[in-house]
């Protein structure tokens, strides 16, 4: 038994740090590999060593130089813009709809309130891709398949169902504020925009972030909707097509570079909004 408190504390800290460091390395290593090899100059596909021998920016340059790998069907800049556009629009629409639905469930009292909330919960239980075939044929009937608008619709129209966290947050804002505003003559609509929203920065940020990230990661739905329309692919399907057997020999390194670049807009947004993010998640979770 070690008597000294100081020594004991140092030892246990050392142990904890070692474990955390090992976990950290394991967690970071794929990203480190990706980043390093996106700058690799030699060879075409994978190499049997970790650190590249020669470094270059060429993979990034090639990525934006459409046709450099020999195929006009790989058009990363176009896919990047497609995704950005879809992400921005679906982010705006879904943020507004989530907040509006949450406000309604949190502040307004109407007959079917509880039931609608339950329906929302139940619908949320089904995995999104269960209805994919139906969604595809509905969109086709509206002549919207192979179209970016279809993606915006898919990503933002169901968003209102994800109201739980922000409703939880709104519930923590005292009703006294609403009442005071009502006495001053504000309508429910004015209360939402002028009183509740300015006080809900964390949860707005959280909603913005989650709905912005969606289109960058979604693969299945986008693939089904776009089919063979390569110029309308999003980055997720586009990058996957780069490592299909047909393209992997020429595009593997560009795929690595592309994967790094996909992280850029999300990271930027995240850094900008980070201080609100943690606050938003914890605040919403307190009272659900």
């Amino acid at each position: 038994m070690i008597k000294s408190y100081k020594l004991r504390r140092h030892l246990s800290n050392a142990l904890i740090y070692i474990i955390l460091a090992v976990l950290g390395i394991i967690w970071v290593s794929p990203f480190a590999y990706l980043l390093m090899h996106s700058f690799r100059a030699e060879s075409t596909i994978t190499v049997p060593y970790l650190i590249p021998h020669e470094w270059t920016f060429q993979n990034y340059i090639d990525l934006f130089n459409v046709g450099s790998g020999g195929s006009a069907a790989i058009n990363f800049p176009r896919w990047f813009i497609n995704t950005l556009v879809v992400a921005i629009f679906s982010c705006i629409i879904s943020t507004i709809s989530v907040l509006a639905v949450s406000y309604t469930f949190s502040r307004l009292r109407f007959k079917a309130r509880k039931k609608l909330m339950n329906v929302g919960m139940i619908l949320g239980m089904f995995p999104g891709f269960m209805t994919m075939i139906a969604i595809y044929y509905l969109l086709k009937a509206m002549n919207l398949n192979q179209n970016l608008v279809a993606l915006v619709i898919c990503y933002s129209c169901g968003a209102g169902l994800g109201f739980q966290i922000s409703k939880g947050y709104f519930d923590t804002i005292p009703h006294a504020l609403d009442e005071a505003a009502t006495i001053d003559g504000a309508t429910k609509n004015q209360i939402f925009w002028r009183i509740i929203l300015p006080m809900s920065k964390p949860i707005i940020v959280y909603t913005v972030l989650t709905s912005f990230i969606g289109p960058w990661c979604d693969f299945i739905l986008a693939k089904i909707i776009m089919g063979d329309k390569r110029e309308l692919y999003t980055v997720a399907i586009g990058l996957q097509s780069m490592i299909s057997p047909e393209f992997i020999n020429e595009y593997y390194k560009q795929f690595l570079a592309g994967s790094v670049l996909v992280a850029v807009p999300i990271t930027l947004l995240f850094l900008k909004m980070q201080k609100y993010y943690v606050e938003g998640v914890t605040a919403g979770g307190v009272k659900g």
């Binding site: 075409t44 994978t46 049997p48 139940i122 209805t131 139906a134 595809y136 086709k140 057997p245 393209f247």
Partner: protein
């Protein structure tokens, strides 16, 4: 109340999902019979070009073509030639879209009405396309049969109906080697290749864990498939000599263990990469990677049919899986006659020769097979020789690949003892049972 609501909602969703599928099937099967009727098989064809009357009343034609990415530029040019060959017709738009052959079938099955009218695909997808009735039968059967190699016709014929225009006769794998490491004589035997690679400190890649390549072990041992049982899904095997098959598997496993570190099982995508870094001496690679391998090896590029393996004193030729590529016509095409005529043109002698020259694709057309572009190409010759020692990739059950891949993985696994004949006997029996789904 909540429960009822949940059930109701779930039910509604399920019904909508099925409604979607149902709609598609009826639609495509309907138009399939339509296009069949509009064509007769006795039409005069000369140099893959028909009389304009075959178009019927179709005009202002708009078509979509799927071709693998590498071929898009060439196919676009061939489409222009096609338009020029029919000056009396107006073509609003013929679009050529990049779509890999391996994926074409799946894409077509997803939604035939937005898919291409004319598409390239690999022979293994034919069955499911025919089952789903999304592929139209060939309108110019007599001409196509007479122009192309008989095996490519047989493989595309199901119950006396020819379903696709043969495009290539090269969809398989062969031996690629660095001729500074392995010489021509050594490339004839697996033992020679491995010895040469080990001596040079380089690797040999054979993707054992993928059933497409892994089936080689069983096939070399004398196991043969013979289409389907009567149920149409269970793979049928001919009788084989178990002792011989087991001895062959043991011989493979022994080589893998004797040359541990040299004989590696990696994805074929690693082969071109391995040649360019100089870590690889030889590999068994697919014909579609030829250009990448040639770029990596340049003057050192060597190609041959698969080697032999010595089983108890006799050299046995490795038997591979081998397929063809076809051009199919979408049964729900808006312009069925024009689509057939375009497919006929694209699969014709002139187009096949251009593809052999510019893309290195092995032709199925008998006349092109005799031409110097094929006869003088070591790669196409290697593929041709291997095709004579191969199992044709048609009527293959979907359950074949995983058990065959598993067999390959077991052969190379470290804990496997190559001398344990009982183990291999059991492994082979289980593999066949799993393929036939009897396990």
């Amino acid at each position: 109340m909540k429960k009822i609501l949940a059930v109701l909602l779930a039910g509604m969703m399920a019904v909508t999902a099925f409604a979607g599928c149902g709609g598609q099937t009826t639609e495509s099967s309907g138009s399939s019979s339509g296009s069949g009727e509009s064509e007769s098989t006795a039409i005069e064809v000369k140099d893959s070009i028909v009389d304009e009357s075959v178009f019927g009343d179709e005009n202002n034609i708009s078509l979509k073509v799927w071709a693998p990415d590498k071929a898009v530029a060439l196919v676009k040019q061939q489409v222009e030639d096609f338009k020029a060959a029919y000056p009396g017709k107006t073509f609003t738009k013929i679009e050529v879209v990049a779509q890999g052959e391996g994926d074409a079938g799946t894409q077509l099955l997803n939604d035939a009405s937005v898919a291409a009218d004319v598409f390239s695909f690999a022979s293994d997808q034919l069955n499911k396309l025919v089952d789903a009735k999304v592929i139209a039968d060939v309108a110019f059967k007599d001409y196509v049969t007479q122009e192309n190699a008989p095996e490519t016709i047989t493989a595309a014929t199901i119950k006396d109906t020819l379903y696709a225009y043969p495009e290539t006769n090269d969809n398989g794998y062969y031996l690629v080697y660095d001729n500074t490491v392995v010489n021509e004589e050594q490339a004839k035997t697996l033992e020679g290749i491995l010895e040469a690679c080990r001596a040079a400190g380089k690797k040999f890649i054979f993707n054992c864990g993928d059933g497409f390549y892994g089936c080689t072990f069983a096939f070399t041992g004398g196991v043969k498939i013979d289409g389907f049982e009567e149920d149409g899904v269970t793979q049928k095997f001919t009788d084989y000599d178990e002792a011989e098959a087991v001895a062959t598997l043991q011989a493979f496993s022994k080589l893998m263990h004797d040359y541990k570190g040299t004989f590696t099982s990696l994805d074929v995508a690693q082969i071109a990469s391995g040649f360019s870094t100089g870590t690889l001496g030889a590999g068994v690679d697919g014909s579609w990677n030829t250009v990448a391998d040639q770029d990596a090896l340049k003057d050192k590029f060597g190609a041959a049919k698969l080697p032999t393996i010595n089983v108890n004193g006799t050299d046995k030729q490795l038997i591979s899986m081998f397929g063809y590529k076809y051009i199919g016509v979408n049964a729900s095409s808006q312009f069925p006659a024009a689509a057939q005529i375009l497919a006929l043109y694209l699969s014709g002698e002139k187009c096949q020769e251009q593809r052999a020259e510019q893309l290195g694709w092995g032709p199925s057309n008998k006349a092109v097979q005799e031409k110097p572009v094929v006869a003088d190409s070591p790669v196409l010759q290697a593929i041709k020789q291997q095709s004579e020692n191969a199992c044709v990739q048609v009527n293959i059950a979907a359950t074949l690949w995983s058990p065959m891949g598993n067999l390959g993985n077991k052969l190379i696994a470290e804990q496997t003892n190559p001398d344990d004949a009982e183990f291999f006997k059991k492994l082979l029996k289980e593999t066949i049972e799993n393929i036939r789904d009897e396990g």
